[in-house]
């Protein structure tokens, strides 16, 4: 039997996956990573993309919008973000929160087009389409 390790994928809002796997492929910010049991302790940030894992010889995938992955020899933990994160997006959210507060103090209600948020949604949708595409290809081969 192949060596296994435990994979936990959790986000701030819920647990996405927990189970025994043989191999994990993660979209690290520095490049994709392949993790097999007894990997050295590692912490890396993740970029939006698909997190693939092999359980019982079958490959499965999850979409992550980025986050952090912690690797221990027999446990891999992915702390997944719940939404696409980027400095400029966070900055935008911060500015909006400030503006809303200012508007609330003045008694106004600001409504404007949320360009960056739309772009992020588009980005996420693209990555998801890519993932579905890949799954389709994998299924086609068998």
């Amino acid at each position: 039997m192949a060596m296994t390790m435990h994979l936990n994928v959790v986000s701030a809002e819920e647990e996405l996956f927990s189970g025994t796997v043989e191999e994990v492929f993660a979209p690290g910010t520095m490049g994709d990573l392949g993790i097999i049991p007894r990997h050295a302790q590692l912490v890396t940030t993740l970029k939006p993309g698909e997190l693939r894992y092999v359980a019982d010889g079958h490959m499965a995938a999850l979409f992550v919008s980025g986050g952090i992955m912690e690797v221990q020899p027999h446990v891999v933990t992915v702390l997944a973000d719940t939404a696409i994160r980027a400095d400029d997006l966070d900055e935008k959210a911060a500015t909006e929160a400030k503006e809303r507060a200012e508007a609330a103090l003045e008694g106004k209600d600001p409504e404007d087009l949320d360009y960056e948020a739309l772009q992020a949604e588009l980005e996420a949708a693209k990555a998801q389409i890519q993932m579905i595409h890949n799954i389709g290809k994998t299924l086609g081969r068998h």
Partner: protein
């Protein structure tokens, strides 16, 4: 009071009772779901705490500013989490009392306070102090993505040295019947909250330790605030459930009382009518 008026009033109280009863049941089911979400967010925070503990206590070349205590506190940031809607008993009032008290204490020491709020009730209550950032209308299923703005504002202020401490005030969900206002220091991270570790190795970092720790610290604080908001939703629902239950009970006893008054009035009217008829018959004879 005439018979007709009493009857109308009983009807109106009955329909109010129906509404409060419905609200009670809705709040009860929402509370259960909020409590589940509270549970669901725990593994993330727990894992974060483990990794953050390791990094804070480990002998790393890079110490994150959130783990360093600042000696001279000149300005404090407050994040106050309230509900958007009312009809939930004294939940918000008690919370604001605690927050007002703490803010007054800081001001007495000559420390300025910056406030960021979640929820419409807090926004209205703290308007006069000047709110620097807000997020309202998060709903019964708050999402982390909608909370990032105020967190970012406060953490940026901390990074720039505008504030020297960040404190969160929200309601603690003790059980279905009890909630208590609680204030928690978020930054600098209180080291007692971090776990003691008995191993001495370090991670490999990708891209490098500073970037990973920065990303991790930011998410750690965010997860604490997310938990605070979710917990506050659970408190809101349980508090509303209790408030609506007592409203339903009160409506019930009010209906009983009015029913008594109504019966008495009706009886009096009948008695009067009989005696009038008897008197009339006697006069004819």
């Amino acid at each position: 009071m005439g018979l007709k008026e009493i009857r109308t009033q009983i009807k109106s109280i009955q329909s109010t009772k129906k509404i409060t009863k419905a609200m009670e049941m809705v709040a009860a089911s929402k509370m259960r779901r909020a409590a589940e979400r509270m549970q669901a967010s725990r593994p993330y925070a727990q894992k974060m705490r483990e990794v953050v503990s390791h990094m804070a206590k480990g002998h790393l070349e890079y110490k994150h500013p959130y783990t360093l205590e600042r000696e001279d506190v000149k300005r404090v940031g407050y994040i106050i989490i309230s509900t958007d809607r009312g009809l939930c008993g004294g939940l918000n009032t008690n919370l604001f009392k605690k927050a007002f008290q703490e803010i007054a204490d800081w001001k007495e020491q000559g420390v300025e306070v910056d406030i960021a709020v979640y929820g419409g009730k807090a926004l209205n209550a703290f308007k006069r102090y000047g709110v620097v950032a807000e997020a309202t209308g998060l709903g019964d299923r708050p999402e982390l993505a909608d909370m990032i703005g105020p967190i970012k504002v406060m953490l940026d202020a901390y990074d720039e040295g505008k504030i020297d401490r960040l404190i969160m005030v929200e309601n603690e969900f003790i059980n279905n019947m009890t909630q208590k206002p609680r204030s928690t220091q978020l930054v600098p991270i209180v080291s007692e909250e971090l776990e003691e570790l008995d191993y001495h190795w370090d991670y490999l970092y990708e891209p490098d330790s500073k970037e990973v720790i920065d990303a991790l610290m930011q998410r750690y604080i965010e997860s604490l605030i997310y938990q605070g908001v979710v917990e506050n939703v659970a408190c809101e629902m349980s508090s509303r459930m209790i408030a609506m239950k007592s409203a339903t009970d009160n409506a019930g006893s009010m209906i009983d009382k009015l029913q008594l008054v109504y019966n008495k009035a009706r009886q009096a009217a009948i008695t009067q009518e009989i005696s009038e008829i008897v008197a009339g018959a006697a006069a004819v004879e």
